[in-house]
Amino acid sequence: MKWITDNVAWQRTLLGLALLGLSACGRSPESAAGGVAPPLRQDCRNISAERQPFFGDLHIHTTYSLDANTQGTVLKPADAYRFARGEALGLQPYDANGEPTRRAQLDRPLDFAAVTDHAELFGETQICTNADEPGYDSLECRFYRAQPDNAFVVFNLFGPGFTGIPKIPVPLPALSFLSQLSPLFGDGEQILRLPYCGLNGERCLQAARTPWRDMQAAAEAAYDRSSDCAFTSFVGYEYTAAPLSNNLHRNVIFASDVVPELPPSYIDYPAPEYLWAALDEQCRSVDGCDVLTIPHNSNLSAGLMFQTRDDRGRAYTAEFAAQRQRNEPLAEIYQHKGQSECLNTMGAGAQDELCGFEVMPYNNLTGDRFGGLNTGPPMEQDFLREALKEGLRQQATLGVNPFKYGFIGSTDTHLATSGNADERNFPGHAGAGLNPRDGITGLTDVIETSPGGLAVLWAEQNTREALFAAMQRREAYATSGNRPVLRFFGGWNLPTNLCARADLVTRGYADGVPMGADLPPAPGGSTAPRFAVSVLRDPHPSAGPLQRLQIIKGWVAADGSKQERVYDVAGRRDSSAGVDLDTCEPTGDPGFASLCSVWQDPEFDAAQGAFYYARAVENPSCRWATQQCVAAKVDCSAPDSVPEGFEDCCNADFPKTIQERAWSSPIWYDAARR
């Protein structure tokens, strides 16, 4: 979008549109209850009362994120939106003439996207990469430019990283300058910035305005406000909380173009509850602002993401639980850094072999840096299935469920390649892992990385209002990058023959509730809830057929123990489907184009709260790394012949195939409402 920067008049128009209302933000707490959808704009050519699936990516980084920038990403938010809409992008590494040596393009454009650059270090990155900024020649920036890999670690440690260290209170007000000099001093409520940010970080805060305004302008330019409704953008950012690299990240998504003047970041609001309070204050519905936050990579939080205490170590209260539920209707269940659904290490979950899908072998963001000293194996309580069960337990105590999450997938690309979740064309993550800045030899990323997934929202039409309302009511599902269509309804009187009827969706809404909702109180005479689940395969020629359809139930038993069970409700569990690992061609069972079932819980206990979600699984296909290994003709039987960078092709610790899948948001049964 070169013209935006060159055309002063047009740029002003866009900026003016994007910045409307900037100074007047803040959300009243009652506005965010999410129960009432905003009025729909009835002007899309394509509108359906029974709702349509829209595919998108709510987690995209560009050059404004420090970790993307230090890995050579120069593409901006406008480029990320162009890519989402189907245009091609050139990617690093760049050759001697500054020309990109790689190219990427979606073969199916996205319906919506949100660029979510890290709000922390916005200003720091802007200063160090722009020669016109006064701090460009500071020591820190010279270090940033000379050693980007080390700068990534140091900047993050001095920024968001040190907050986990216990602080020494400043003994006298006269010594308050100590908190500006060392991360060891202070009250723990504000994080130190690097010295070149100036007193109170003012210089970096000022510099952060430029990227934030550009992100808003890019979102505005990309949003199709015509009746075509071809594409929806959201203004957003990532809140990058990571005490000692334990991940508490959230993507913050705004409903409209009315947003805070600067994105509330972890540096200024160093715990999620402070973020929600800041958003309540700076994003008020009376001003037209609304927002939600989406936690991601709970798998890398080392036990923090779903802990049942607040930042000061106090147990949850009903009010705190409600604050969390109100702000966080969705969680990201899958992305480049693995899945956060389940870890099959204990309880009934140990029987669920599909939990082995794309598991990151660490419990925090440090990964194998520092020889693995700051990390450990993944922990069951960091996974959403376990968190949903803990949520039921909290609800039994508090009356409110703090962990009432629907599911979405996204990519977390740091290359601005929005929604590029295809195993056949994975250009790498480019935020952690392999750095593509100066060249790529072999696999395009470290073996444990994944190409990420997509968010799917059921909405009447493709507008910000309709999609945001879908997110708030959790009528959403996640995919591992493929595009199956998945419907999931729950109710007490759903007809048992729905799969054979043409009005499954009509009856689903009329006689039940869709994914993301609560079952209504059981009418008299009901014995157990019934669920209708139907999935249609991804129609793309390269996509695989379906293998099976499952419903996963979680509940808390009378003795307080957490329970779960996986039910196969359609398809074939003992399928012979496989993959020829020399060619990546499918073998065996041809699978299914569609699967459908109306299922009634055989072990329903009206006294126990429960959640149910659907999982649709495809036949096996080659994992991204296997596809690259096959293309490079790697022969693991002759280890000396394996080219440099392809050593992990022969790493037996990682599977060669995956089963692409979709996860519906859960439907909850609240025993207290019976």
Partner: protein, 362 residues
Amino acid sequence: MSAVTGVSDAMPDPAPRRVPRGWRRPLLHFIGIGVLLFGAERAALHAGWIATGTLVVTDADRLRLRQQWQQETGRVPTPDELRASLRRDLDERLLIAEALRLRLDRDDVVVQRRLSMNMAFAAGRDADGAVDAQAIADAQALQMPTRDAVTRRRLLQQMEQRLLPVVRFSDAELDAYIDAHAADYAQPPRYAFELRHFAAERGDAAARAAAQAALHTADPGDPLLIGLRQPLQARSAIVMQFGEALAQAVVEAAADHLVAGVVAADPAAGGVAVIADAVASAGAAPPRGGADTERWQGPLRTPYGWALVRVTQHQPSQPPDRAAVRNRAAAALVHEREQAGLQQRLQQRRDRYRVVGLEALP
């Protein structure tokens, strides 16, 4: 002063003085002539009467460009191709010469950092990213700014940025631009259609046979999760959801109706033709037979099994939706004007350089 001018008080004044005495100072004359010469030179340069510099095309240049061409395309360039290649090369050299004349190599931070880095590398020192004035002077003495690929590219970028005009346009101009490129911004034809779906789960042969049989019966087929009545959509969207075969059948069926003249787009209805209604109201025989059931096409393979399809609406290509294409058209307009301005300014500079050897091309 009188001694200098040699005028006696006794002599009568021969004529009234036309020029004040101060104007006769030689220093002033010197400055005046200097200003005139400078102005004349600028005017001549601007008008292209004399050259700012000379660019020489040598046999070595021809050989280099010919080899480059061969490396990239695997064949020898034609004389026209070589001439075009030489012209591009000359433009690049011209811009580099202009950049050096404007001292951009001394002022640009990126160039300075690169030169410092190169010199540090040459001296076997670690580059720390700092700018070293002596190293830059040495690099310039070695003509490094024009030889290093990165600094050369940076100088070219800087010159292009300087030559790019700032484009401003009004809403009326943007509208006119969209009108002038109406074909590029027109909305594609859209089709609404109905399906009868025969699921792959019946077995491929059985599903196909059922679809075939349904051409002559009222068999409604199987339910389909995404619905059997599809709203208006472009061909590309149909391909994505239902595959190439079905999309092609839809397009051809709609085209048949229009070619037959049975249905014309109704401007009052936004150009949408409702085929069944139009057929009925026109009282004309529909193409391909007559009975409604015969307008089902198929069997057609889809990702979900086999299908019969019937077009219910056809919206021919529509004029541009201004709101929808506004951003895209603005980008194209700016790009077009920028390039025109750039070429004009480049031509002005070309006119100021003398080129030797270009005419000797084969």
